[in-house]
């Protein structure tokens, strides 16, 4: 074995391997770092046109009614073909009910009565001003839209690393642990309730403030649905919080409101009327 051709074949094959390896390393390490640097430098110079910030105001008193919450959740599920998976470990939920003590842990104390502590509250993605999920996503598959402040997800770019799920302080994100399509509710004809694209397994999803409906000038599905049920008028109000004349801005000025976990600095844009 010791007298193989060290001088000819091996050295040129070695050189090729070395140079090819160096090229791979250089490109795969250098290109991303270089382009990230260029992007960071470029961001300083671009002028930011202030866009709006969509916000939701939840009237907690009105949302205590089961019918109101059910209408909101069902409308959302149908508008987005959200699967109903029986195993709670794998469940996908965009808007759901939780207890007051879970939504607002800082607002309960040892003597808070059970009725208050366990009062049902509607929760969803807060489309934060400084979202933790956007900060951590390694591919920018989730980002905050500058035009209207909605925190979006690109289902085709998401690599399913679930870092965003670790980062979200509100538990707003769901992962598709299995193929969701068999669990999506269908109507009497066996069709999906909506044209909204169903997702594949292995990606994360969450409330998107019905961006696709807003584009057509409609209100989010949950907001529209609650207005149609008994006691639901005004349970959910949607609007641009940067517009001083919008319904949400007026409510924020006139009523006492709280947000979830304000001390974390995420700046949630879903407000709760106490």
């Amino acid at each position: 074995m010791s007298n193989h051709k060290e001088s000819d074949g091996n050295t040129s094959r070695r050189r090729f391997l070395k140079e090819a390896g160096a090229a791979v390393v250089g490109l795969s390490w250098g290109l991303p770092v270089l382009s990230a640097g260029c992007r960071a430098a470029a961001q300083e110079s671009s002028a930011k046109v202030p866009g709006k910030q969509w916000a939701m105001v939840v009237d907690m008193e009105k949302c205590r009614r089961e019918g109101v919450r059910q209408a909101a959740i069902e409308a959302c599920d149908r508008a987005h073909n959200i699967p109903h998976i029986p195993d709670s470990d794998d469940e996908v939920k965009w808007v759901w009910t939780t207890e007051f003590q879970h939504a607002f842990p800082e607002d309960v104390h040892e003597r808070t009565p059970a009725a208050q502590r366990e009062a049902p509250v509607l929760v969803m993605c807060n489309h934060c001003t400084d979202p933790a999920c956007v900060k951590v996503c390694p591919t920018k598959a989730t980002w905050k839209r500058e035009s209207d402040g909605i925190v979006m997800i690109d289902m085709h770019r998401c690599i399913g690393c679930r870092y965003c799920m670790a980062a979200c302080p509100y538990g707003a994100r769901s992962f598709n642990w299995r193929d969701p399509r068999p669990y999506v509710e269908t109507d009497a004809n066996g069709d999906y309730y909506s044209d909204y694209p169903t997702r594949a397994r292995g990606v994360v999803e969450k409330c998107d403030f019905c961006a696709e409906r807003l584009r057509d000038g409609q209100l989010p599905a949950c907001v529209e649905a609650v207005a149609k049920v008994a006691g639901g008028a005004g349970a959910l109000t949607f609007g641009d919080v940067t517009d001083a004349d919008s319904a949400v801005s007026r409510l924020l000025r006139e009523r006492e409101t709280i947000v979830r976990r304000p001390e974390l600095g995420t700046g949630p844009n879903v407000y709760y009327i106490v």
């Binding site: 390490w29 920018k140 399913g160 670790a166 642990w177 292995g202």
Partner: protein, 386 residues
């Protein structure tokens, strides 16, 4: 030099075959996971990271620990580590490879992994983690092969390797610091969001890594004629002792901050881990085993006569590795998700599929390590025969 990998006795080939069997079983399990999705694991909406990421976190530490032999040898001319450095570097290569594989098997859409490179995101610590890990792998591969090849030829290594070696020292610290930053930057997780997380990671890494290196050196001494030398092994044992003691100190510091202040947010996870929360106590036996193991190992390591005896040292090294594995894997990663951000407890138990895939990834890493060690042993034997 690679051809040395094909020269081995029966035990060598049997060992490789053993790894291959484990890899085969894991491949079947992984194909099940690819088909059905990550539902085949024990992870859930609340506990969205589990065994895979736990192994990743543990192994990044092992990879970083190569610096514990590189620094004394190259920076301070500690000649006793002469034969150990290559082992440390190759162990780092194997560990980083396993890290990357654990990330890969944890991904929901692994085919999209290139997105991390195509869409670089400097504000994401995970982006930086993939960059530094990849860089560290290349660094150790290049340094290891170039220096060892030069030694084989009996010549000093090329001059350009020196700056790379010096670079690998802060780089090793950085890979584990960046991994700690993955956790420590999350406002949602008070259990992780502590400044001491990165120092804790490093302390536990510098305990478990050199302990693994000790085991590797002892095994090689037993099964081949490759002997790194008693002084090197003893020095490694001293390093493990100090690192483990510092790690224990850091744990105590964390416990004090949590327990004395008695803030519910800081306490809940500790309560779950060591006493159980809301009737859930699956990790309690593990955490107490870890506590006893840590205290026992630190105490034993402080006794020189224990360190001096191979059998005892090997046993304590296993104990150290086990203790850090539990603390970092289950304690830290799973603990961070319990209770959830909404204060609820969902427990996590890995499934058989998950374990099979995990074992297979370890088998790949150990197979690579076996081959690399084979090369080192063969070349050393040739050198010593000459």
């Amino acid at each position: 030099m690679l051809e040395a990998a094909f020269h081995g006795g029966r035990r060598y080939w049997l060992l490789l075959a053993g790894w291959a069997v484990l890899i085969g079983i894991g491949a079947v399990a992984y194909s099940r996971q690819l088909t059905l999705g990550l539902t085949v694991t024990g992870m859930s909406r609340d506990v969205s990271w589990g065994l895979y990421i736990a192994q990743f976190t543990f192994l990044v530490g092992v990879a970083a620990s190569a610096v514990m032999v590189v620094l004394p040898y190259y920076l301070h001319n500690y000649k006793a580590f002469g034969k150990t450095v290559i082992l440390g570097e190759f162990l780092a290569v194997s560990a980083v490879l396993m890290c990357m594989m654990f990330i890969f098997v944890d991904m929901g859409q692994p085919m999209r992994i290139l997105n991390v490179f195509l869409h670089p995101t400097p504000n994401s610590v995970m982006f930086w983690d993939s960059m530094v890990l990849f860089g560290y792998l290349i660094l150790n591969l290049v340094i290891g092969t170039v220096t060892f090849d030069a030694e084989r030829k009996g010549a000093p290594p090329a001059r350009w390797v020196r700056p790379l070696i010096y670079l690998s020292i802060p780089w090793a610290v950085s890979i584990h610091t960046v991994t700690a930053f993955l956790y420590a930057g999350l406002v949602a997780r008070p259990f992780w969001m502590t400044a001491i997380l990165a120092p804790r990671f490093l302390a536990s890494a510098f305990s478990s890594g050199p302990a693994l290196l000790i085991l590797l050196a002892l095994i090689l001494r037993r099964t081949t004629r490759f002997d790194v030398g008693e002084q090197a092994i003893q020095k490694l044992a001293v390093i493990v002792t100090y690192a483990m003691a510092i790690n224990l100190f850091f744990v105590v510091v964390e416990l004090f901050t949590g327990l004395y202040g008695n803030m519910p947010e800081h306490l809940d996870t500790f309560r779950y881990l060591y006493a159980g929360l809301d009737g859930h106590a699956a990790l309690v036996p593990w955490m107490w085993t870890n506590a006893i193991l840590t205290l026992t190992c630190v105490t034993l390591l402080m006794i020189p006569r224990v360190r001096a005896r191979d059998g005892l040292l090997a046993a304590v090294a296993v104990g150290v590795i086990g203790a850090v594995w539990i603390e970092k894997g289950m304690g830290l990663v799973v603990g961070g998700f319990i209770p959830s951000t909404l204060g609820q407890v969902t427990e996590y138990t890995p499934t058989a599929t998950e374990v099979a895939i995990t074992v297979a990834v370890y088998a790949v890493g150990f197979m690579v390590l076996t081959v690399l060690c084979r090369i080192v042993v063969n070349v050393r034997e040739q050198l010593e025969a000459a």
